[in-house]
């Protein structure tokens, strides 16, 4: 038998090593953001690029909003009224086919170069010709030109009343054309093959916004520092911003420990314990995403789901209030497909209400006996902390109460998207996030349009509704346009294959000392307007 003195020594050595490691680590641990004037933002990244004309993700939008100014902007929580930013104003003419923007003359890029109309023209043309994710935003614009140094004219082939909302998008942030060209950028046709500026823009920003890029890592963190040449309304209060890639469970712990910290991805459930925390300000407001169910209107996909009475049975059977409760604090009922914050949103009073008696009557009138369908959804996707699988189960349970058997078919999003886009799902549970805060973005739900086709709703399926859509989409007067879109949604609710469910709550948790933290449906939060008491 071996010596126990050696054993004691071994045990002591092991314990000693472990203790040294832990004590050394703990010795200087502290949460130090406050000491350095650094704002810390915790976000689960979907980041791909810092190039504004390529980025179209939520995380990228937050960063682009403070690196690059846009012609117009939304302020605070408002997303109905685009206000002057780089442009002092604009004029729409020719039935909203032509927009003329007048630029400020005092704006400088971060290297001191004056921002002029040619930079706007370059940025917009580059956006189109890169053929990337956000390129569609200017798909209807046929001409972009500079008139002098401080006037930009955009011409569209069709009436484009959404353009003011579109130009406020971070992907239309204005870049320093001279610098970008010098680093391989181009706005010419074929830019998708020839533009090489992305690598440069992922290291160094070339904008006029309140911050400049210090470092960029799509999986760990993005660091920003103040732009000393910034001239604008949004003078930053924090000299540095660090946006960290952290998943929601770790964000929940971190926000309770940190100072000068903001967390953006907590679900309403996760944030539950934080409401009432005296060290935090926690807001739960309705986000702009619309979760919806659809029944495929194409009888070739399913004669059951294409049956109008069957669709009505679903429409009146769904427990809408229950889904809102399940979605958690801050969520609200989606009265129509246009989010509540946008022009043209339906009031809550116009929402379809559950009517089980009517649902049963519709199902009986459909002639279908014990209908059985497949309910497809992305099984690995969560949005605002909500799992599609859980919602699908709720829908399944609701429908089962009147004898509709919905078999759950969950697939990873990379594969389920294919069926959705191909229009082959019988019942589908999905969401639509706004590309820009304007009701025109929701014309996609009409027959023959992008989402309509995914629900098997071909062009010509509802000529009256389609005509109303064309009229609403080209009306310039916002009040009239808003009313027209409300009419569209009322008709969609009555006879369309879509069943808008809810807008999930968006939780923003921030350290108590922070001011100016306001959720905005387009860019989430404006890092430049956040200060400290």
């Amino acid at each position: 038998m071996l010596n126990s003195q050696a054993a004691r020594r071994a045990l002591l050595a092991v314990a000693g090593i472990l203790a040294v490691i832990v004590v050394a680590a703990a010795a200087a641990n502290s949460n130090n953001a406050a000491a350095s004037g650094t704002l810390v933002v915790d976000k689960a990244f979907d980041l791909k690029t810092a190039d504004p004309q390529r980025q179209f993700e939520v995380s990228g939008g937050i960063i682009a909003h403070v690196l690059y100014d846009t012609l117009l902007e939304f302020r605070g929580s408002d997303v109905t009224n685009p206000l002057p930013s780089l442009a002092t104003g604009y004029k729409a003419s020719n039935g909203a086919k032509t927009y003329t923007f007048t630029l400020r003359r005092d704006v400088r890029f971060s290297d001191g170069t004056p921002l002029t109309a040619k930079d706007v023209v370059f940025s917009f043309r580059r956006l189109i010709n890169l053929k990337g994710n956000p390129s569609f935003l200017l798909a209807n614009v046929t001409s972009i030109s500079a008139r002098g140094n401080y006037t930009v004219v955009l011409k569209s082939k069709v009436s484009n009343p959404a353009l003011p909302a579109i130009v406020a998008n971070g992907s239309l942030g204005i870049v320093n054309s001279k610098v970008v060209k010098a680093n391989g950028g181009t706005d010419a046709v074929g830019a998708d093959k020839t533009d090489k500026a992305e690598t440069f823009l992922n290291r160094t920003s070339a904008g006029s916004g309140p911050y400049v890029l210090k470092s960029f890592n799509t999986t760990s963190r993005v660091e920003l520092t103040t732009n000393p040449r910034y001239k604008g309304r949004r003078v930053p209060k924090f000299s540095n911003v660090v946006m960290r890639n952290i998943q929601a469970p770790a964000q929940l712990l971190s926000i309770q420990r940190g100072t000068n910290e903001i967390s953006l991805d907590l679900s309403p459930d996760q944030a539950g314990p934080l409401f009432g925390n005296k060290n935090l300000n926690v807001q739960a407001v309705a986000g702009p995403n619309i979760w919806f169910l659809f029944a495929n209107a194409n009888p070739k996909i399913s004669e059951i789901t294409a049956n109008k009475r069957f669709q009505n049975a679903i429409r009146y059977q769904l427990d809408y209030n229950g889904t809102v409760r399940l979605a958690g604090k801050g969520s609200r009922r989606a009265a129509g497909v246009v989010p509540s914050q946008f022009l043209g949103a339906l009031p809550d009073s116009a929402a379809i209400k559950q009517d089980v008696t009517r649902a049963k009557a519709e199902l009986a009138a459909s002639g279908l006996k014990n209908p059985e369908v497949e309910l497809e959804f992305p099984s690995d996707f969560t949005s605002s902390g909500l799992s599609f699988g859980v919602m699908a189960q709720k829908v399944q349970a609701d429908l089962a109460k009147i004898g509709i058997k919905a078999n759950l078919v969950g697939k990873p999003i990379a594969t389920s998207l294919a069926n959705y886009r191909a229009g082959t799902e019988q019942l589908g549970l999905w969401l639509w996030g706004p590309d820009y805060p304007d009701p025109n973005d929701y014309l996609v739900f009409l027959p023959g349009q992008l989402v309509g086709l995914r629900a098997g709703w071909a062009a010509g399926a509802d000529p009256k509704l389609e005509a109303l859509g064309r009229k609403a989409g080209s009306t310039q007067d916002p009040k009239v346009r808003g009313k027209l879109f409300q009419q569209i949604q009322v008709q969609l609710n009555q006879r369309g294959p879509f069943f808008p469910l809810f807008q999930p709550g968006q939780v923003v948790a921030a350290s108590k000392n922070l001011t100016g933290v306001a959720f905005n449906a387009t860019y989430q939060i404006d890092l430049a307007t956040i200060g400290s008491k």
């Binding site: 010596n3 092991v14 703990a26 798909a139 960290r244 420990r257 990379a414 294919a418």
Partner: protein, 333 residues
């Protein structure tokens, strides 16, 4: 050695072929996974994407191009990040390596030490306790442990930092090795190096726990196999100090089998720490692999597959060489 090297080359090529075939068999369109809902409906955007990544060519052509580029050290461009896969691997691998090395060091020192102790105290209370501890270590789900560790040591006790490789007020050091501790020291940024070291502790301890359990068990068994041999009794009978008997005779004889486990444990940590990296927001190869798989980023998936294969090949090779060093009777063919 030359024959072995050629065999390794063919093995690597075979792995690229399998990875290529499997990723192309997965239902799902990379263009759909990487382009937005609007862009996917734009034929020009889709065509541009396919052309950029060679997806408009036949599978045979795509594989041929891949192998040709691979022969020139080019692993292609990530569809997600639009950066060379080699550049991305060059960033993510060191992050995991820094974690893995510390984790394995802790696991080896503690696991082997406890294994020897358990063998020394064979069938006594210490042995029984350590066997339970080691079983607990290998049974506990690592992701759960990571969450609990974060909750207890960061949130509750504030003994250790939370997620990430550095606190917010420290900037990442200029990359020379990719090991933040070393890079920061090389640049004289001592505070950054200390902070990086602090951030290493919790995730590496979490990763080490499973391997501590594993190594405790294997070392105990290996030592027990050796300790009753005649030459050990003879060494003791000759009056050799006990410490020397353990370290020079017992451990050396027990080491080959333990070495195999150490090698596999290291390879596992290098290639499979996805959940721990995710929870600790550690930007390592595990996170990269997860992101690549869920976005059908084919070049990145191929790159990671190749990396995993190379790690296991190298680890096995190193272990084989070390066998020969520890026991001259074993020769590497």
């Amino acid at each position: 050695m030359a024959r072995r090297f050629v065999a390794l080359l063919f093995l690597g090529l075979g792995i690229t072929l399998i990875a290529f075939l499997l990723t192309n068999l997965v239902p799902g369109d990379p263009a759909a996974a990487n382009l937005g809902q609007r862009a996917i409906e734009d034929p020009a955007a889709v065509a541009s994407f396919r052309e950029r990544y060679g997806l408009d060519k036949s599978l045979l052509e795509q594989y041929g191009v891949y192998v040709w580029r691979l022969a020139h050290g080019d692993l292609g461009e990530s569809q997600q990040a639009r950066l060379p896969v080699t550049t991305e691997l060059g960033r993510f691998i060191p992050a995991t390596a820094e974690l893995a090395l510390l984790s394995i060091l802790i696991a080896v020192v503690v696991g082997v030490g406890l294994g020897i102790l358990a063998a020394i105290r064979h069938n006594r209370l210490t042995d029984h306790v350590l066997r339970v501890v080691s079983l607990t270590g290998v049974s506990m789900p690592t992701f759960w442990l990571a969450l609990v560790a974060l909750y207890v040591f960061f949130f509750r006790l504030n003994w250790l930092p939370g997620t990430g490789r550095l606190d917010p007020q420290f900037s990442e050091p200029e990359q020379r090795t990719g090991f933040f501790t070393i890079d920061a020291m090389l640049q004289g940024e001592w505070a950054t190096a200390a902070d990086a070291a602090r951030h290493l502790v919790l995730p590496s301890l979490v990763l080490a726990l499973y391997n501590i359990g594993l190594l405790t068990r294997y070392t105990r068994t290996a030592v027990l196999d050796v300790v009753n041999n005649d030459y050990i009794r003879a060494a003791r009978a000759k009056g050799i100090p006990e410490r020397r008997v353990v370290l020079r005779h017992v451990l050396r004889a027990a080491l080959p089998s333990v070495l195999t486990v150490i090698g596999l444990a290291f390879a596992n940590v290098m290639t499979g720490a996805v959940l721990v990296e995710n929870i600790f927001a550690w930007p390592g190869i595990g996170q990269y692999a997860y992101r690549s798989a869920t976005t059908l980023d084919l070049p990145a998936i191929m790159g990671v597959s190749l990396f995993v294969a190379v790690v296991y090949i190298i680890v096995n090779f190193v272990v084989d060489v070390l066998y020969g060093v520890i026991d001259p009777r074993i020769r590497v063919a």
